[in-house]
C-alpha cells in the first residue's frame, strides 16, 4: 500500500500542467476564472485545445489518450484548477462510451470523430414529465415504419439542449412488455423536423435545461444503438458511470478555495472573516468531508482500475450521493461568506456592465444563484433517494 502519488503520477501531472499552459486559449481561461458564460463556439475551441492529445477519457483506438483512470482524474483536476475545463455537451462522458462499447462499426466511424473534434454537441434525453425518479416508466414511443422509427413524446430536464446538435434518447419500442424491457437507445438529430426545444428557467435565473418535444420525428433505423429493446441495459451502464464520475471533488474544491479567497477579502469589523475562529471551524469541518470524499474517489479509481467485476465496490457507490452533499455544503459556505450582500440579482446579460462603477463586488451577484442551483445536485442523475435505494439493495442486500 502506498497512498502517495508515484513518481510517474507526479511526472504526468507536471506534463498536464505544461500542456494546459501551452494550449489553453487565454480568453477562455480568463472567462472561466471570472465565472462568465462561454458561447458554444468558445466551448468548442476550448474542447479542441483540451483534446489535442486525444479525448482524455477514451481508449486510443477511438481517438482517445488511453490514459489510466488515475491519469484521467489528474487531468480533469488540473484542467479544472487551471481553469481550462469545458465540456462540449455529453459526447465524451456519456454517449461516446455507449457508442464505442455497444454501437456498430458504422456508428463508431461516424459519431466518435465528430465528438473528438467538437463537431457534434450531444445532450441526454432520458427523463420525462411523468417518469422522473421512475425512469423506466418512460412513455416516449418509437414505432417502426419501414426503414425508420417515428418518435412521439416529450423529454424534460435536458441539459444544454439549446446548444445541442444531437440527442440520445431512451424510447419505448415495445409497450406490451414489462417496463424495463421494451426500451431502446436511439440517436436523434435534434434538427430533425418535429423536434421542438423549449428552455426552462430555473430558480437561479438561468436556462440550463429544456423540454424537448418529439412530434412524428423520423429517425433512421441505423440510429439504434445495440439491440432493440435492450436500451435499459445501456442506460444502466451509463447511469453507473455517471454515479462514478459525479463525486464532483474538483468542483467542490474550487468552490472551497473561492470561499477562502473571498473570505480573505471580507471584513467583519476590523477582522477578516477568514480569521474568525467560528468561520475557520466551519471551513475545517467541510474540508474534512471533502478530503474524505477525495480519498474515497481515489479508492474507487484504484479499485475500478483493477477491473474487478461482480460485487460493486461500496466506496464507489457513495460517490454521487455524498458528492452532491459536499457540493451543496460548499455552496452554503459561499453564502456564509457573502452574507447580506447576496441580495441583488443581476441577470447574466447585465453582469458585464454591472458594477462598474457599482458598490458591491461583481462576484457577489453570482453566489446565491450558485447556491440555489446546487440544490439540483441531489436531484439530477438519480436523486439521493434513488441512490440510497440502489445502495440498500445492491450493496447492503436489503
Amino acid at each position: 500500500m502506498d497512498l502517495l502519488f508515484t513518481e510517474g503520477d507526479l511526472t504526468f501531472r507536471e506534463e498536464v500542467r505544461r500542456f494546459l499552459n501551452d494550449n489553453t486559449i487565454p480568453d477562455i481561461r480568463r472567462k472561466l476564472a471570472e465565472g462568465l458564460k462561454l458561447s458554444k463556439d468558445e466551448v468548442a475551441a476550448g474542447t479542441r485545445s483540451l483534446y489535442k492529445k486525444g479525448v482524455p477519457t477514451w481508449p486510443q483506438e477511438y481517438g482517445g489518450t488511453g490514459w489510466t483512470l488515475l491519469q484521467q482524474y489528474i487531468f480533469e483536476e488540473e484542467a479544472r484548477a487551471f481553469p481550462a475545463l469545458v465540456k462540449f455537451g455529453m459526447g465524451e462522458d456519456l454517449v461516446g462510451p455507449v457508442i464505442y462499447t455497444f454501437g456498430d462499426l458504422a456508428q463508431k466511424r461516424y459519431y466518435l470523430p465528430r465528438i473528438a473534434n467538437a463537431t457534434d454537441w450531444w445532450c441526454q434525453g432520458f427523463s420525462e414529465p411523468e417518469a422522473g425518479s421512475d425512469l423506466a416508466s418512460l412513455k416516449t414511443r418509437a414505432a417502426q415504419h419501414g426503414d425508420h422509427y417515428v418518435v412521439d413524446g416529450q423529454k424534460i430536464w435536458i441539459s444544454s439542449a439549446h446548444y445541442a446538435d444531437w440527442i440520445f434518447c431512451l424510447v419505448r419500442t415495445n409497450p406490451d412488455v414489462k417496463k424495463h424491457q421494451g426500451i431502446s437507445f436511439l440517436l436523434i438529430d435534434i434538427k430533425s423536423p418535429g423536434v421542438t426545444v423549449r428552455p426552462i428557467q430555473l430558480i437561479n435565473g438561468g436556462y440550463e435545461v429544456s423540454e424537448v418535444f418529439f412530434d412524428d420525428v423520423r429517425v433512421p433505423l441505423a440510429n439504434l444503438v445495440g439491440e432493440k429493446n435492450k436500451g435499459w441495459m445501456y442506460a444502466k451502464y451509463l447511469l453507473s458511470k455517471e454515479r462514478f464520475d459525479d463525486a464532483g471533488v474538483g468542483l467542490s474544491k474550487e468552490r472551497m478555495l473561492r470561499a477562502l479567497e473571498l473570505a480573505a477579502q471580507t471584513y467583519v469589523g476590523d477582522e477578516r472573516l477568514i480569521d474568525q475562529s467560528s468561520f475557520r471551524e466551519k471551513v475545517a469541518e467541510l474540508e474534512v468531508q471533502l478530503k474524505a470524499l477525495e480519498i474515497t474517489q481515489l479508492r474507487a479509481i484504484a479499485n475500478a482500475s483493477k477491473q474487478q467485476q461482480g460485487v460493486q465496490d461500496p466506496a464507489s457507490s457513495i460517490l454521487k450521493l455524498r458528492g452532491s452533499e459536499v457540493e451543496q455544503a460548499a455552496a452554503e459556505l459561499l453564502m456564509a461568506v457573502i452574507g447580506p450582500n447576496t441580495l441583488p440579482y443581476i441577470p447574466d446579460e447585465e453582469l458585464g456592465s454591472w458594477n462598474e462603477p457599482s458598490i458591491l463586488p461583481r462576484w457577489a451577484a453570482k453566489i446565491a444563484p450558485i447556491y440555489f442551483y446546487s440544490r439540483a445536485a441531489s436531484i439530477y442523475s438519480g436523486s439521493s433517494e434513488i441512490q440510497k435505494n440502489i445502495i440498500a439493495k445492491a450493496i447492503l442486500g436489503l
Binding site: 452574507g339 441580495l343 458598490i359
Partner: protein
C-alpha cells in the same frame, strides 16, 4: 398565558387572509411582478383601505395602535402569498423609525401619508462593509449650521427604488464603528447629490444602491438625537426581525402545504410518492421545523415589546436562529421532495425557498444571531 386571538385580532386575520386568498394567488403574484414598479399599486391601495398600512401607528397619527401580535398576523399572511409590495420597507422599517424616533411634527406629517398609501419610504442602513452591524456607519453627516450635508454610499436599500423619501443612517461624530455618533436623516429621493441604482433581488423584490454626495438635509428632517439614534435603530431592527420571522412562518406554512399536496398527487413507480416512508418522514421533519418556528416567532413577538434591551435582544436573536435554520431545512426538503419541478421558475416552491433564504440574510443570518445570543449570555430561564 393565552394563545387565543382577541375578537379584533381574529377579524384582522380573516380580512387579510381573505384579501390574499382573493387577490394574491401565485398567478396574481407573477402578474404583479411584471407591473412597472415590480409590485401592484392596486394592492397597495387595498392595504391602505383595509387599514394594514395604519396598523402599528398611534391613533393620533391616523393609525390603529396595533402591536407586535397584529404585525405578526399581517406578516404571516403576507408570507403565505409572498407579497411584493414595500410593506416591510415602508411600514415596518421607516414607519418604525418615525414611531420611535420622529418628533411630533414629523410623525403627524408623514405617518398619515403612509397610512393613506400616498408615500412610500425606505430605510438605508447597510453599507458596503457594514455586513450585519448596524453601528458600522461610514456615511458622513456634517453639521453646516442650519442643515446637514450627507456623503457616502448605502447599499441594499430595500425598495429604495420606489421610495419617495429615504431615512438614512449617517455618522455625525466618532469613528466608523463607534456606537455613539449616529443620526437618522430623512432624505428626499429628488434631492440634489442623491443618485439611485435600482436592482432586482434574488427573491423577486426590488432595492437600490444609494450614493450621496453632499446631500443637503434641513434640520427639520433630522430624526431624533443626531448622535444617539442607534438605540432606536436597534429597537426597530428587532421589530423588523420579529416581523420577518412571522413572514417566514407564513412561507413555511405554505411550503408545507404545497409539498404535502405534491406528495399526495404526484405518482411514481405506480403509486403516490407520499406513500414512500422516507418521504413521509421528511414531511414530518418539515412539520417539526414549522411548529418550532411558529413557537419561536410567538416568543419573539411576546418579547419584542420588552424594554429591557438584553432580554429583548436575546429573544429576538433566538427566534432568528430558529428561523434561519428552518429556512434551510424546510427549503431544502421542499425542493428535494418536488424533484426537478421544484427547481423551476414556473413553479411556486422555489420562490418561497428563495424568499426564506433572503429572510435569513436580512438583519443577520442564523450564525450571526447565534453569536449575538451567545455573547449576551444565552437565553434566560424565564419564559
Amino acid at each position: 398565558m393565552n394563545f387565543d386571538l382577541s375578537e379584533e385580532q381574529r377579524l384582522l386575520t380573516e380580512s387579510v387572509e381573505r384579501l390574499m386568498l382573493d387577490s394574491y394567488g401565485f398567478g396574481d403574484r407573477r402578474k404583479y411582478g411584471r407591473e412597472d414598479p415590480g409590485f401592484s399599486e392596486a394592492m397597495w391601495k387595498r392595504y391602505a383601505e383595509l387599514g394594514l398600512l395604519a396598523l402599528p401607528f398611534s391613533e393620533e397619527c391616523g393609525g390603529l395602535s396595533g402591536g407586535p401580535i397584529e404585525t405578526m398576523i399581517v406578516m404571516e399572511a403576507f408570507g403565505k402569498s409572498l407579497i411584493l409590495e414595500p410593506y416591510f420597507a415602508t411600514v415596518i422599517l421607516a414607519g418604525g423609525l418615525l414611531r420611535r424616533g420622529g418628533n411630533e411634527a414629523q410623525r403627524t406629517e408623514l405617518i398619515p401619508l403612509i397610512v393613506n398609501g400616498r408615500t412610500k419610504l425606505a430605510f438605508a442602513y447597510a453599507e458596503p462593509h457594514s455586513r450585519y452591524d448596524l453601528f458600522h456607519v461610514e456615511t458622513q453627516a456634517k453639521n453646516q449650521g442650519n442643515f446637514w450635508a450627507l456623503s457616502g454610499v448605502k447599499t441594499l436599500v430595500l425598495h429604495g427604488d420606489v421610495a419617495h423619501k429615504i431615512i438614512v443612517s449617517a455618522r455625525t461624530a466618532g469613528g466608523t464603528r463607534e456606537k455613539n455618533g449616529i443620526g437618522l436623516f430623512l432624505v428626499d429621493v429628488d434631492a440634489p447629490g442623491l443618485t439611485r441604482r435600482p436592482f432586482l433581488t434574488q427573491d423577486g423584490l426590488r432595492g437600490a444602491e444609494i450614493a450621496l454626495e453632499n446631500v443637503r438635509v434641513d434640520e427639520g428632517n433630522l430624526i431624533g438625537d443626531p448622535e444617539g439614534s442607534l438605540p432606536a435603530i436597534s429597537r426597530v431592527a428587532d421589530e423588523a426581525i420579529t416581523a420577518l420571522c412571522a413572514e417566514a412562518v407564513g412561507c413555511f406554512t405554505q411550503m408545507q402545504a404545497i409539498t404535502l399536496s405534491y406528495l399526495k398527487t404526484r405518482e411514481q413507480f405506480g403509486t403516490k410518492i407520499g406513500s414512500f416512508q422516507v418521504l413521509q418522514h421528511r414531511a414530518v421533519d418539515m412539520l417539526v421545523e414549522l411548529e418550532q418556528s411558529r413557537s419561536m416567532t410567538l416568543y419573539a413577538t411576546m418579547m419584542v415589546g420588552e424594554d429591557n434591551t438584553i432580554e429583548r435582544e436575546r429573544a429576538v436573536s433566538a427566534a432568528k436562529v430558529q428561523i434561519g435554520r428552518s429556512s434551510k431545512a424546510i427549503g431544502h426538503q421542499s425542493i428535494q421532495l418536488h424533484g426537478g419541478i421544484g427547481m423551476t421558475m414556473e413553479y411556486s416552491i422555489g420562490h418561497y425557498f428563495k424568499r426564506v433564504v433572503m429572510i435569513d440574510t436580512l438583519f443577520g443570518d442564523a450564525d450571526h444571531h447565534l453569536r449575538r445570543l451567545a455573547a449576551l449570555g444565552g437565553l434566560k430561564k424565564k419564559i
